[in-house]
Symmetry: C2
Subunit: 125 residues, 2 copies
Amino acid sequence: MDEISFTPRELDVMSILWRAGSGTVSEVRDALGEALAYTSVLSVLQTLEEKGHVRHESEGRAYRYFPTVEPEAAGDSALARIRDAIYQGSAEMLFAQLVSDRGLGRPELERMRRMLAERLKEEES
Amino acid sequence: MDEISFTPRELDVMSILWRAGSGTVSEVRDALGEALAYTSVLSVLQTLEEKGHVRHESEGRAYRYFPTVEPEAAGDSALARIRDAIYQGSAEMLFAQLVSDRGLGRPELERMRRMLAERLKEEES
DNA sequence: TCCTGTCAACGGGTTCTTCCGTAGTAGGTG
DNA sequence: CACCTACTACGGAAGAACCCGTTGACAGGA
């Protein structure tokens, strides 16, 4: 249990790195919704590196940053926190909320059903 | 879209209020895992009240605090943030992660399947 | 009456977060 | 060389979050 957590701004940046695989300061800055100063983005990246969530390599004169944390690990931590704090520890209740989303269409729901079936079959062992 | 969000400590406190329905400062303090000073807990509650997430009524000499936000609403906001930032907007990927949890037993998984089936039937309309 | 215990209000210290300006470095160009 | 540009390092301001001590109000008991 590594207790992964990010501040809102850090999450914005990590999200971009996960999506793209890596990024220079400028790339992250461009991908960011809000217009931040170059040095602001750099600061966030440096903080993330200090905390061990990203690393960098030199690329020409610039640094290229890579996430060192898998999104799945971050997701696990985040979901566990939500499950415990908001759904009183019940994955089922969280699940119910997820499934009740009106925005979900039939195809997604079908695929979810398939995943669940796979998982249940696997449970046999 | 009300953009509900809590700091970690605020979430601890809200969690207790949701669980119990309401609470005085002392009750929340006792229910809290960590040992905080009375006034620390009071501060959190006052901040939450300022932000409109709880309200209070007098009970004897003390205040009793009630959540004014439903956990479902907070859950929606939190799940949407995770979905967008960590799972690139895909509810399915989030779902896959949820289902892959080794801690889930057959009974939970069965109930999830039932919920999903209900939801799918409902989708017919 | 006086003391003790419980309570909310207030203020303040410390750290974290967010954002950016400035300074310094190094490469390329005229 | 002088100059411009793209980059990182550093420091710091402003505000949020976190935690608590002190104060004053009030009730109940000795």
